[in-house]
Symmetry: C2
Subunit: 198 residues, 2 copies
DNA sequence: CCGCTTAAGTTAACGGTGTTCACATAAGGG
DNA sequence: CCCTTATGTGAACACCGTTAACTTAAGCGG
């Protein structure tokens, strides 16, 4: 197996080897302690050691780079939730675990999480990242619906799913914005699916 | 009663009369169909008919203007919630009404709402707008706690309050980000305090 | 192996931004 | 009435996103 990307071709001079991957990687690194709007295209290029206009060979504009970063974030969130569920089982405990993973992901990656959920309102929800979006979010939705669909009707189950998502997302956002001073115990207490069943 | 502000002194030439108020007013107008980061200081000054540097007599920097706008938004949200509760009574129906008002405010003022809840993470939660913050948010929190504190203990009541806030806030944010296609009926269905009582 | 096409870099420039500085003007109190 | 102070102006600085024209490297057909 040959990886033709950044690994083997570190710096062969004029050509980089795999910019785009490097740009996304550096972008994620900068997002660790910054909001996305505070990251400059030129600054990012400088950090990679490349001219600013070089990025335009791989992204049509800054917005495209943002979308690429958001997509990577959604993939990682989906993975974190999948891991949590795999570890916690398929019952209600496992479902609560996915919720905790959701919130924990937001706290661990504040800049990235904010970026993921800041699709431009002018773009009428038809960006290319909808597919990935569903993958991450429908997992939570499906699990929630399956969890209670046997006890109540499917309509009430979907309502439960929506409530669960809104609760967990709202908690994550409020924690990120420092509206709530939240320790781990509080998070565990708030995220309790039993408190949502009708 | 004499209003010395923008009303009577519209344009007396070199001096504006009451910039700062005019800047905030124009800022709120621009926020009606724009995100805050897409509003330029110079553009705003241009819209008022004043030079960009004139704004620096009233705001130390752009961030201060943003905070002023956020504060005004919090005042308006508090008012909207107060009105809703006054109209809906003090029982559970009134409480649900404040939740609906919260979401409706977000939908009616997307740019402003996003601004209100985007305090810089670098600022360690000690901006001057904490007071107003409490005023708007503690209203929801207090009402929630009072609503159920007689039925359950005060600890469980506070947990209920936190869940209610997170649910409503998460719903608002998800609707704003177009992650949920929400009609009014759906909002009413999701916001139902009965589904949260332990 | 050579030459040509094309992908992927470069520098220079344009307009726009936030911010600062020196200066100009209006308002108001001694 | 003058002098202070608040409030405006315009020019300048450094930075930004984006584009254009140019240069270099890679790959492929003959």
């Amino acid at each position: 197996m040959i990886t033709v990307s950044t690994l083997d071709a570190a710096k062969r001079g004029y050509h980089h080897g795999d910019l785009r991957s490097a740009a996304i990687e550096e972008g994620l690194r900068l997002l660790e302690d910054r909001v996305v709007d505070d990251i400059g295209l030129r600054e990012l290029a400088r950090a990679i050691g490349v001219s600013a206009s070089a990025l335009y060979r791989h992204f049509p504009d800054k917005e495209a780079l943002r979308q690429a970063l958001a997509e990577e974030g959604l993939v990682r969130l989906a993975k974190a939730q999948g891991d949590a569920q795999a570890h916690g089982g398929s019952g209600m405990d496992g479902f609560n675990a996915t919720g905790r993973a959701y919130v924990q992901f937001a706290l661990d990656n504040p800049g990235l999480f904010r970026l993921m959920f800041s699709s431009l309102p002018t773009v009428d929800a038809l960006g290319g990242l909808e597919g990935k979006h569903d993958e991450a979010m429908q997992l939570l939705q499906r699990n929630a619906a399956e969890l209670v669909s046997c006890d109540v009707g499917p309509a009430a189950a979907q309502l439960f799913a929506l409530r669960a998502w809104a609760l967990v997302h709202g908690l994550a956002v409020l924690l990120l914005d420092k509206q709530i001073a939240g320790n781990a115990d509080l998070i565990d207490a708030v995220i309790d699916a039993k408190a949502l069943v009708p």
